[in-house]
């Protein structure tokens, strides 16, 4: 049972994004390499490399995900999105070989989330991307679960380093479960503690008084 006093909105599952989820909002800031397919008149000031008034057709730019999703249309008149290199053929074979070795945090902290969002852009490799994401997750999950359930009261930064943010959430959940269970075994469950919300409120009031 969650002992938090508020329920944050979780990130969306699969190809959806949750509107109010902070994780999804941060995810949508990731940049994607893309190519414009038509002229954007008078928006030249966004493109620092050229000095023209408009953005010409065929310019290569890096657009954030929220902009790319908004501008993308099936008939591809506006922008065309290229896959970032972590989702392409080369890296997919690496993941196939051994998913546990790769540092997913370096590949963009939202590897699974961004991968799921890439499926919106109708690339011909969509089924392979989806399969690769799934298999990578399945391959890495066992180690994450194992380490989260058996690392009690120690420094976990070495374990958490190479995980992407979805896996880190799972790791945190596992740790919370382990800590609550150990607390129950020690009899801490009957010990009343002040809620985190109350403590923070009291601290804030004290700093207000002192200021």
């Amino acid at each position: 049972m969650d002992s938090q006093s508020y329920l944050p909105v979780p990130p969306g599952v699969g190809m959806e994004e949750n509107f109010l989820s902070l994780d999804d909002i941060l995810l949508s800031h990731e940049r994607l390499p893309s190519r414009t397919e038509c002229l954007f008149p008078r928006l030249g000031y966004l493109e620092k490399s050229t000095d023209s008034q408009d953005i010409q057709e065929g310019t290569k730019m890096e657009l954030p995900l929220w902009l790319a999703k908004g501008l993308y249309e099936r008939k591809r008149r506006v922008v065309s999105i290229e896959l970032p290199k972590v989702y392409r053929e080369g890296w997919r074979t690496v993941f196939n070989a051994d998913p546990t070795v790769v540092d997913l945090h370096k590949m963009g902290p939202y590897y699974y989330g961004l991968g799921s969002q890439m499926l919106h852009f109708d690339s011909p490799e969509n089924p392979e991307i989806a399969q690769a994401l799934l298999q990578t997750f399945i391959g890495r999950f066992r180690r994450t679960m194992d380490s989260s359930q058996n690392a009690y009261n120690e420094d976990t930064s070495a374990l958490v380093d190479r995980l992407d943010s979805l896996e880190r959430e799972l790791f945190k959940l596992g740790q919370r479960g382990l800590n609550s269970f150990q607390g129950w075994e020690k009899g801490k469950a009957s010990h009343l503690t002040a809620s985190a919300l109350v403590l923070n409120y009291r601290k804030r009031k004290m700093t207000d008084l002192q200021a």
Binding site: L7, V9, V13, F19, S21
Partner: protein, 222 residues
């Protein structure tokens, strides 16, 4: 279950037509509690059970006042009262949590149900959900939407708040024999197939497949 105190409980409850012993009542409460805890969606409102249990609790407390102090049985009965009270409040708490999580969908479901169907929300829960919606909208407006350009100042709550995920897997135990339950394929290679559920067997399935069975009481979530 307490024997000395249960005699008052087995009299006919006014709010129901049939006779129900306190044992059955508590068993039903526990069933409703477990179902509510493990289901991803808000289940039907069991206000009759809640009311009966409240009556029972007040009854038992009155009886305890009359019993002599220092009696060993009194402390055991008191523990039992505390346990029942915990189950009841845990049940109500998980319902409130689900209402807070899915408030626009819950209100939509309540609006669109036919007049004869049992309601999903008790009157108090309905008022709570309405207030929560109004408060969230006021908050978003005051904090952010006020400063946006005029044509972007509306937020569609139904799309903004995620829907309950009916495809989550749940453990269940079968109480009544069910035949011919259609199970959807998981991967592209499988086809949909049919399972028979035998009494007393336990399964792990998607919630969507067995949702109607939970509301009729044919399966119990564990």
């Amino acid at each position: 279950m307490s024997d000395a105190l249960s005699e008052d409980g087995s009299e006919q409850n006014d709010s129901q037509e049939e006779l129900m012993t306190p044992v059955e009542l508590i068993a039903k409460l526990e069933e409703a509690w477990l179902n509510e805890k493990f289901s991803p969606d808000l289940l039907e409102n069991k206000s009759e059970i809640v009311e009966c249990v409240m009556e029972q609790l007040t009854h038992m407390e009155d009886n305890l006042q009359r019993v002599s102090k220092g009696d060993m049985k009194a402390s055991v009965h008191r523990m039992e009262i505390d346990r029942i009270r915990f189950v009841l409040s845990s049940y109500l708490r998980s319902r409130l949590q689900k209402i807070e999580k899915f408030f626009p969908h819950v209100l939509e479901k309540e609006k669109s149900r036919a007049d004869g169907d049992p309601s999903y929300l008790s009157p108090e829960e309905y008022a709570f959900a309405r207030e929560y919606l109004a408060n969230t909208e006021t908050y978003l407006k005051a904090v952010a939407l006020r400063h946006m350009p005029p044509n972007l100042q509306a937020v569609d709550m139904m799309k903004a708040v995620p829907e309950p995920c009916l495809d989550s897997f749940v453990f269940l135990r079968v109480k009544e024999q069910q035949d011919n339950i259609m199970v959807e394929p998981e991967t592209d290679d499988q086809r949909e197939y049919v399972v028979d559920l035998d009494v007393g067997s336990q399964h792990l399935m998607r919630y969507r497949t067995i949702a109607p069975l939970v509301s009729t009481g044919a399966v119990q979530l564990i």
